[in-house]
């Protein structure tokens, strides 16, 4: 045994202790309690698939109103379903487009209400949402189609779960100015699914 060989191995062994200690669940948990340790983590891929009315894009005319006068309302019930393998929550954004979007928006004349678990009653330009829990109440639509409407994450919906039906109600404000006569806007809404941990 010579004096020169062993110490080289010992230096490396001491350095290698850093690995053991760095990865040890006891060491990390003891000194980094504010972090999430990866101990026992299962890494798994899934799919995220939010569907409304069993589709990934919905073209609807039920919410449309022709010939609307102040006080007119339309309503439609949508079914929200998680068709993927990962749990999700959702938010709702939307607003007005089209040539006269700014005119309607500046008057605050088109107003949206969204309620979960509500039903549609009435017909045509006098249809309304009845019952349920209000997620959004009489919010004026703006001329930005990406504006936040329901910003609080709804759900979570487990994989394969059907959410409470969402009733959208659009009202043409009773105080709409007469300058809006004959004007037209389109409304676009987006239900944004986000995976949950």
């Amino acid at each position: 045994m010579t004096a020169g060989r062993r110490p080289r191995g010992r230096v490396r062994a001491v350095l290698a202790l850093g690995l053991v200690v760095g990865l040890s669940p006891v060491g990390t948990a003891a000194s980094w309690t504010d972090n999430v340790a990866v101990t026992g983590t299962t890494l798994r891929s899934g799919t995220l698939d939010l569907q409304v009315n069993d589709a990934n894009a919905v073209t609807t005319a039920t919410l449309s109103m022709a010939d609307m006068v102040p006080g007119a309302t339309s309503a439609e019930v949508f079914r929200v379903r998680n068709a993927g393998t990962a749990a999700l929550t959702y938010t709702i954004t939307g607003g007005l487009g089209g040539a006269d979007a700014a005119a309607f928006a500046s008057a605050g004349a088109l107003r949206l209400s969204v309620s979960a678990g509500a039903t549609r009653s009435g017909t045509g330009n006098a249809a309304t949402c009845t019952g349920g829990t209000a997620l959004l109440s009489d919010q004026a639509l703006t001329a930005a189609t990406g504006a936040t409407l329901v910003g609080t994450a709804q759900g979570p919906l487990a994989a394969g779960a059907q959410g409470a039906p969402l009733c959208f109600q659009i009202a043409f404000s009773a105080g709409a100015p007469t300058s809006l006569q004959g004007r037209t806007a389109t409304a676009t809404f987006t239900v944004n699914g986000t995976s949950t941990p």
Partner: protein
């Protein structure tokens, strides 16, 4: 310092000793490199806020896949650029690592996963965020294994091996080892899980909202009599129950509207009016619930004549 038995043992177990020696060298060198990396990360974690993040979902694929390990360092929000991959804590307290696709004037960040069709629903507000410096493919998966039950067993065995190498021979090695162990315990970085959350937007389209134009009434008749004129018009065709207003434009006098259904009329008493003048009777349709919503006026001109006794109808339009 020579051992008299060493030569005999070496001769008997030369091949085995050689293999074990190589394994020992590899284990020590690889362990030392990984250990230094761990200690360096620990040092950087405490001094520069560097973090190791394990990706638990795949919305940043193919740039960063599930199970990859990303090394991040904190950057002030105003120094970020579109295209940077950053890690933020969302309002639910979940760590999200996505690419910057837009920056608001107030430095709120719009993020989007590379594999997502759309950006995250809401912008994130933060003064400092963790920017991904580089990613190690499958690094997180390896770390997850090493810190799982099997990994703990392997690490335990490796620790035993290291302790055997370090078995007390010289007095000064003990304190050095304890110092290193202490340092590592205090500063070892623990990879944090990060969710590269998926998003899936569903658009609700084709809602057209067209405001009504209140139709202008059509004047169907005008009859002059002694001392008065009667203007008649047809009600507008509409699903809404309009009412009608008849006003003398020049004087502002409001006339009484009579009739229901398809035909309405208003009588304009002219007997006490002046000489040879022309007035206009304006008829408008009004929405009863919102009286400011009125139609364009339908006008009927009336020639008053001498003392208003024999008025006559003029042009209508």
């Amino acid at each position: 310092m020579t051992d008299p038995r060493r030569g005999q043992d070496g001769a008997r177990h030369g091949v085995l000793d050689g293999t074990l020696a190589v394994l020992r060298e590899v284990a020590l060198t690889a362990g030392a490199v990984a250990g230094v990396a761990c200690l360096a990360l620990a040092l950087l974690a405490t001094t520069a806020g560097v973090r190791a993040l394990t990706f638990t979902s795949g919305s940043m694929a193919p740039t960063i896949r599930t199970g990859d390990l990303a090394i991040t360092r904190p950057v002030a929000a105003d120094r970020l650029a579109v295209g940077d991959v950053v890690s933020v804590i969302d309002p639910r307290g979940v760590r999200i690592t996505h690419r910057v696709v837009g920056i608001e004037l107030d430095h709120r960040l719009w993020l989007k996963g590379d594999a997502n069709a759309a950006a995250d629903a809401l912008p994130y507000a933060a003064d400092r965020v963790d920017r991904v410096v580089f990613a190690v493919p499958a690094g997180g998966r390896v770390l997850a294994r090493l810190t799982g039950p099997t990994g703990t067993l392997l690490l335990g065995a490796y620790l035993a091996f290291l302790l055997w190498v370090l078995r007390p021979r010289a007095r000064r090695a003990g304190p050095v080892a304890l110092l290193v162990v202490g340092l590592a315990l205090g500063g070892a970085p623990s990879p944090e899980r990060t969710l590269a959350a998926w998003t899936d937007p569903v658009r609700l389209d084709s809602t057209t909202l067209a405001a009504s134009t209140v139709p202008k009434p059509e004047i169907t008749g005008c009859t002059g009599a002694v001392g008065s004129v009667t203007v008649t018009w047809s009600a507008v065709a509409s699903p809404y129950p309009f009412t009608y207003r008849a006003v003398v434009t020049e004087t502002g006098q409001v006339l009484t509207v009579t009739g229901t259904g398809g035909t309405r009329s208003a009588r304009y008493p002219t007997a006490q009016l002046g000489i040879n003048t022309t007035h206009t009777v304006a008829i408008t349709a009004v929405l009863p619930t919102t009286p400011s919503w009125v139609s364009a006026p339908a006008n009927q001109t009336v020639r008053i004549g001498l003392l208003g006794l024999a008025p006559a109808c003029g042009a209508a339009g």
